[in-house]
């Protein structure tokens, strides 16, 4: 069952002399529980596509419907609320809050959701355990390796119990062992909790794990391949 419906999505940047068609008429459906990789060369529009999908940016035209909500019609504040409730983000540069510990970074999202202190503590420890980093709960990001930070980012993305996780090149800054560990964690979460993962990547190891691979070039879908 398609839970994300994208119709005739376009994003044109007019800030340069020549308008840039970053996304040029994408139609796409994504089903619940998919583990999807968006691939394509640099500048193909992967990140723009993820930003639009996450409601971080407005499309020039077209619609994105997630569940029952057409997010392209929401106001910026409504989109923030929608993201907080439904979408988890994992960024290439981890983007943890540097002044908070691993545990506090995970709890922060739940605090934004106004969860109780007990719930926050319980859930954050569960998540840190799930990503195998509970012993680093009280460490600050600067005290952790890239792989460890990205695992905390995964835990943070899961903290709000989102239905979808959008990951923008999550393994780009990781070594092969960390990449393998992270992919296993994400794959397990996908299988066990039926969370839909959509990530942009250049990484062949990620593509290998993905069950659906969508190739984008010049803002258009070049191929859409499902694996068994």
């Amino acid at each position: 069952m398609a839970i994300i419906q994208i119709k005739q999505l376009k994003k044109i940047y007019n800030s340069t002399q020549v308008p840039v068609h970053a996304i040029n008429g994408i139609d796409l459906s994504i089903e619940e529980g998919e583990f999807t990789a968006i691939v394509g060369p640099s500048g193909s529009g992967k990140t723009t596509f993820l930003n639009l999908l996450g409601g971080l940016d407005n499309p020039t035209s077209g619609t994105i419907t997630i569940g029952d909500e057409e997010i392209t019609k929401l106001t910026p504040n409504q989109r923030i609320k929608f993201r907080l409730k439904n979408i988890g983000f994992i960024f290439q540069a981890y983007n943890l809050i540097p002044v908070l510990t691993a545990k506090e970074n995970v709890e922060f999202i739940m605090e934004l959701q106004k969860k109780s202190k007990t719930d926050r503590t319980k859930r954050s420890m569960e998540l840190l355990k799930a990503v195998g980093i509970e012993e680093k709960a009280n460490h600050f990001p600067r005290q952790l390796s890239g792989g460890q930070q990205q695992r905390i980012a995964v835990a943070r993305a899961l903290a709000s119990r989102p239905k979808y996780i959008l990951a923008d090149e999550p393994t780009a800054n990781l070594d092969s062992t960390s990449t393998e560990n992270l992919l296993n964690i994400m794959e397990n979460l996908n299988r066990e909790e039926n969370i839909t993962f959509i990530f942009s990547t250049h990484d062949a190891r990620v593509v290998k794990k993905a069950r659906r691979v969508i190739t984008i070039e010049d803002g258009k879908i070049l191929s859409d391949e499902r694996k068994n």
Binding site: I80, R83, I97, V99, L100, E111, L112
Partner: protein, 405 residues
């Protein structure tokens, strides 16, 4: 947790934060201390002026108030005195004859204001008797004693026990003279006052001017404390509407102006300092926002709404302002307390200061209401200074902000 994040964010760049706090500390310390210094100086001048020169309130005939003429005296002084003492707030009453006259020594002569007073009563309304530095207040000279200021003594080239001649108009308009001997030389912080005012016994002046004993040009009144002055003024104005009863503020408005000036200087000074510091805070917080564009974009991406982003920057600014500003105020209060006891000696400029009636030793003073208002102004500056940086943070688009490295 927003508070925790804001607090820890401040210490991400401790040098910068400490510089901002230090600037606030120094600025507010200077503001508070300079203000309390001015305040103490003004209040001291007022206290000296009121307690030495003017007294708490003064009763005169409206005619004398206007003209200062010898013949504008009023009678029934004993009745007025007893009326005044019926008011429980009154603790001193001194009827005076106040006459412009000439005083001459063997060397020279000059015009002065002569007060004919009962020495004991006068001591109860002003503290001039305590300012006698040579001789004693109407003691040691049996006939026609007179008290003059040190500056006048220098001008007349006279010493203690020297003889001076007072030339005066009697009640019939005749010019009469009498010799007086200096029983005491006083010195206040106001050399102009010292040069212009002399005291003689009321009975001696009555004899000289042929006035009977129950008349005066004015009555000086001293009350229990400053708060009850207006009560006594109202009471006497109601009982004797034919007379002019004025508090020290009305009688010597220049002293009342000093109070206003003290407060005005304080607020102007503090506001200028805060304005300058406010721009510094805006600059620092703008740097903070620009340095953290990526992070702020990420926070908005993960679901932090604009109100919280705004609050976070606002709280950071407020913490910086409040810590620095309040530390400055506390240091200012501490320095005021310290120098309030010890005094700040400006005696190298004492001659100039004393010409204007200001003491050469300043005791800074503060009052809590003013300090609370300054603290409030610090918080207000923090809030105003935070608005623009916070607004800039609000205007960030998450997708663009995340791309900034």
């Amino acid at each position: 947790m927003i508070l925790t994040v804001s607090w820890r964010n401040i210490w991400r760049n401790p040098t910068r934060s400490l510089i901002v706090m230090g600037a606030l500390l120094v600025g507010m310390f200077s503001g508070v201390f300079t203000s309390t210094f001015m305040n103490g100086w003004m209040k001291q001048r007022i206290r000296d002026g009121v307690e030495t020169e003017v007294s708490h309130l003064r009763i005169q005939s409206p005619e004398f108030k206007k003209s200062g003429d010898f013949e504008d005296f009023f009678t029934d002084i004993s009745k007025l005195e007893s009326d005044l003492f019926q008011n429980p707030n009154v603790n001193g009453v001194s009827p005076r004859l106040s006459i412009q006259t000439m005083i001459a020594s063997a060397e020279t002569a000059t015009g002065v204001q002569l007060f004919g007073v009962d020495p004991d009563k006068e001591s109860q309304v002003i503290n001039i008797s305590e300012k006698v530095i040579e001789g004693k207040w109407f003691e040691g000279v049996k006939r026609n004693p007179i008290i003059i200021g040190q500056k006048l003594a220098e001008k007349l080239k006279v010493k203690l026990r020297s003889k001076v001649v007072i030339t005066i108009q009697d009640k019939d308009g005749n010019i009469v003279s009498a010799a007086f001997r200096i029983a005491g030389i006083y010195k206040t912080i106001n050399t102009t006052f010292d040069e212009m005012n002399v005291w003689a016994k009321l009975s001696d002046i009555q004899n000289l001017t042929l006035l009977h004993s129950d008349v005066a040009h004015e009555i000086l009144v001293h009350t229990n404390n400053y708060e009850t002055i207006n009560e006594v003024v109202d009471d006497m104005s109601a009982k004797h509407p034919e007379l002019s009863t004025l508090s020290w503020q009305k009688f010597s408005p220049e002293f009342a102006v000093l109070t206003e000036m003290g407060n005005m200087y304080l607020y102007i000074f503090v506001i200028i300092i805060l304005l300058a510091l406010g721009f510094g805070i805006v600059n620092t917080m703008l740097m903070v926002v620009l340095e953290r564009i990526h992070e702020l974009g990420m926070l908005m991406a993960v679901g932090m709404n604009k109100r919280r982003v705004f609050s976070m920057i606002m709280i950071e600014t407020l913490i910086l302002s409040v810590i620095g500003g309040f530390a400055g105020i506390i240091c200012g209060i501490w320095a005021t307390d310290y120098f309030g006891d010890k005094g700040i000696d400006l005696s190298i400029w004492s001659e100039g200061l004393e010409e204007w009636g200001y003491s050469a030793i300043i005791y800074p003073e503060y009052d809590w209401t003013v300090m609370i208002i300054i603290a409030f102004l610090v918080v207000l500056t923090g809030i105003i200074a935070a608005i623009y940086p916070s607004y800039r943070a609000l205007k960030l688009a998450p997708a663009e902000a995340i791309r900034v490295i």
